[in-house]
């Protein structure tokens, strides 16, 4: 029943967001909203591996950029079919290309998912610290590869021209915004489903005590690979529409540090144990950052996020969700009957006292 309300609620909220932005008549809201929703996906994706399994990924930018650059590569292929395809295939290619954004999203997801799987396979047998360091390495290796790959523009960058026809919405940025709403819902739904499933329990045991998990029969390596793949795939899906959003993609912005910091800070500040945490973190920090970027500077915006991360990690380790849970627990009655606080907690899948 709660699941039904989740889907209904999220679709309604998404539709309301879109309607509000449209009513405001200001395209800026679509641009800013797209960025914030992008972070919702990234934060949720990060949390599947970081919060649920306890394995820190410092290279979110790599997975995000892999999705973005798959799109760039395919876009270039599609724009120059005759140059890159042999004559027999050119005809078929012209029918399919240029690929539409949903298809690009799926391809971006597959590419990043495979990268996640590969990185995981190389390093997940080792301690979590080594995995974290390896993800840092991955980001730099990938960036160096892209910088040296002229087909996608190398260090000069690539211009991506938006298609002239726009399905349904007429305005391309509104179309991208709507897609990002759907992608956010998909990511949140995935996280929520995992959390409540057998897989989610397995992830939790990996986070709590990997040795005991193995002894209980949990195939830890396999589950870690699943988490890395899903997490990477979602990040790649978030990155796939990015070239169309930004128009000009160069490695510095695609691999920007802001992605790594935000995808760690947002779940850790929001709370890592539930799907609600990354959502809260992304909304709060994303909107705050947009405001600061416009009023002060983007460097200060990112600085604020970094400082908040340090403060929360030291002072409020369970994040905003944890603070709320403590608030709920504080209102618990002695005889165990549910208070309004605990009823609220149960609705949001934040059960005080248990998980």
């Amino acid at each position: 029943m709660r699941t039904f309300f989740f889907y209904l609620g999220s679709i309604l909220v998404g539709a309301a967001l879109f309607a509000f932005a449209r009513w405001s008549g200001n395209d800026y809201l679509f641009f800013a909203g797209y960025t914030v929703l992008q972070f919702v996906v990234l934060a949720t994706a990060w949390n599947i591996l970081g919060g649920y399994c306890g394995y820190v990924n410092f290279g979110s930018a790599a997975f995000f950029a892999a999705g973005a650059y798959s799109t760039v590569a395919l876009h270039k292929l599609g724009a120059n079919v005759d140059r890159y395809f042999p004559q027999e295939l050119a005809g078929i290619a012209k029918l399919v290309m240029p690929l539409n954004v949903p298809t690009l999203i799926i391809i971006g997801g597959i590419v990043s998912g495979l990268i996640g799987l590969g990185t995981g396979y190389l390093t997940l047998r080792l301690r979590g610290a080594f995995f974290a360091i390896a993800t840092l390495a991955l980001a730099v290796v990938l960036q160096t590869l892209i910088v040296n790959w002229d087909f996608v523009g190398g260090s000069r960058g690539a211009y991506i021209i938006r298609p002239s026809e726009v399905p349904i919405f007429g305005n391309y940025i509104q179309y991208l915004f709507a897609i990002m709403i759907v992608l956010s819902i998909v990511a949140l739904a995935a996280a929520r489903t995992i959390e409540r499933s057998r897989l989610g329990y397995g992830f939790a045991t990996i986070r709590d005590d990997e040795l005991a998990a193995e002894a209980c029969g949990v195939p830890t390596l396999k589950l870690k690979l699943v988490a890395t793949t899903i997490s990477g795939a979602l990040m790649g899906m978030a990155g796939a529409p990015f070239p169309y959003y930004i128009g000009y993609l160069e490695p510095g912005s695609a691999f920007g540090l802001a992605y790594a910091v935000n995808s760690i800070a947002m779940p850790m500040i929001g709370g890592t144990t539930s799907w609600v945490g990354p959502l809260i973190g992304a909304l709060l920090l994303g909107i705050a950052q947009q405001y600061i970027i416009v009023t002060i500077s983007s460097a200060v915006g990112v600085l604020v996020v970094g400082l908040m991360l340090i403060i929360f990690v030291i002072g409020a380790p369970k994040g905003i969700v944890g603070l709320v849970q403590d608030f709920m627990r504080a209102g618990a009655k002695a005889d165990g009957t549910p208070s309004w606080r605990s009823r609220l907690a149960i609705f949001a899948n934040m059960r005080p006292g248990a998980r």
Partner: protein, 245 residues
């Protein structure tokens, strides 16, 4: 021993220069009740770790239920029917007692049934298991709300939850009261009567003597005695190394 359930042959394990296990040979027959005793640091837990796959042995082999276990990760050995409790309890600290018990149900217990348990069956089984060790009132509490003794009971219950053919109970009774020790011994005897082979590692001699059909003594990584409990406790070497007089 013909058709031993567990066959440990010439098992060796070192930590750097320190030899923790030196050529251990051990056989456990199906349905047997074996007690494993020895001074602290003699390698009992290391032996368990190597048998169950938590640690990799450098030499020798472990055969369980007719299959070679060398190289198999711990979770697969648990699937084949080997379960163990940890000497120092290792509960999943963000999960409740019930959820802790559920993990082996979700990931191991299907082996003997051929299918996974339903939600309802799981919940019932968790209550049952908690009841077996006297943790029923704390079913929904977190491990940090448990006493040391209760955490040991949770350890044992969690190992039982995996529906094992062989249960290795590593010092499950430390700190228990006289009657609690009796309860656990009776629990293990009941499990054994249902066909579960049990290896009990303990320091409480009263429990070990009451429970074991066979007694194995480990000292400084070597097996120095293996036989009927009465014979072993009167073995001068065992008395000198461990029992004292």
């Amino acid at each position: 021993m013909a058709d031993a359930l567990l066959h440990v042959e010439n098992l060796g394990k070192r930590f750097g220069g320190f030899v923790a296990l030196d050529g251990i040979n051990l056989e456990v027959a199906p349905g047997e009740r074996v007690g494993l005793i020895g001074p602290n640091g003699s390698g009992k837990s290391t032996l368990v770790n190597c048998m169950c796959g938590t640690l990799a042995n450098e030499s020798g082999s472990v055969r369980f239920d007719g299959h070679q276990m060398n190289g198999l990760p711990a979770h697969q050995r648990t699937h084949r029917g080997m379960a163990r409790s940890f000497q120092l309890p290792r509960p999943f600290h963000t999960l409740s007692v019930a959820e802790n018990l559920r993990i082996p149900l979700l990931y191991s217990a299907h082996g003997s049934r051929g299918r996974h348990l339903t939600q309802a069956e799981s919940a019932t089984r968790c209550e049952e298991l908690a009841g077996l060790v006297g943790l029923a009132p704390k079913l929904h509490r977190l491990p940090r709300d448990l006493t040391q003794v209760e955490m040991r009971k949770l350890e044992l219950a969690r190992a039982i939850a995996a529906d094992p053919k062989l249960l290795i109970a590593d010092e499950s009774m430390a700190g228990l009261s006289h009657s609690e020790v009796d309860d656990i011994v009776n629990l293990l005897l009941t499990l054994n009567s249902r066909g579960i082979t049990v290896v009990m590692i303990e320091h409480i001699m009263r429990a070990v003597m009451a429970f074991s059909q066979r007694l194995v003594v480990l000292v400084s990584g070597k097996k120095i005695a293996d036989g009927k409990p009465d014979d072993v406790v009167n073995n001068p070497e065992v008395i000198g190394a461990y029992l004292g007089q």
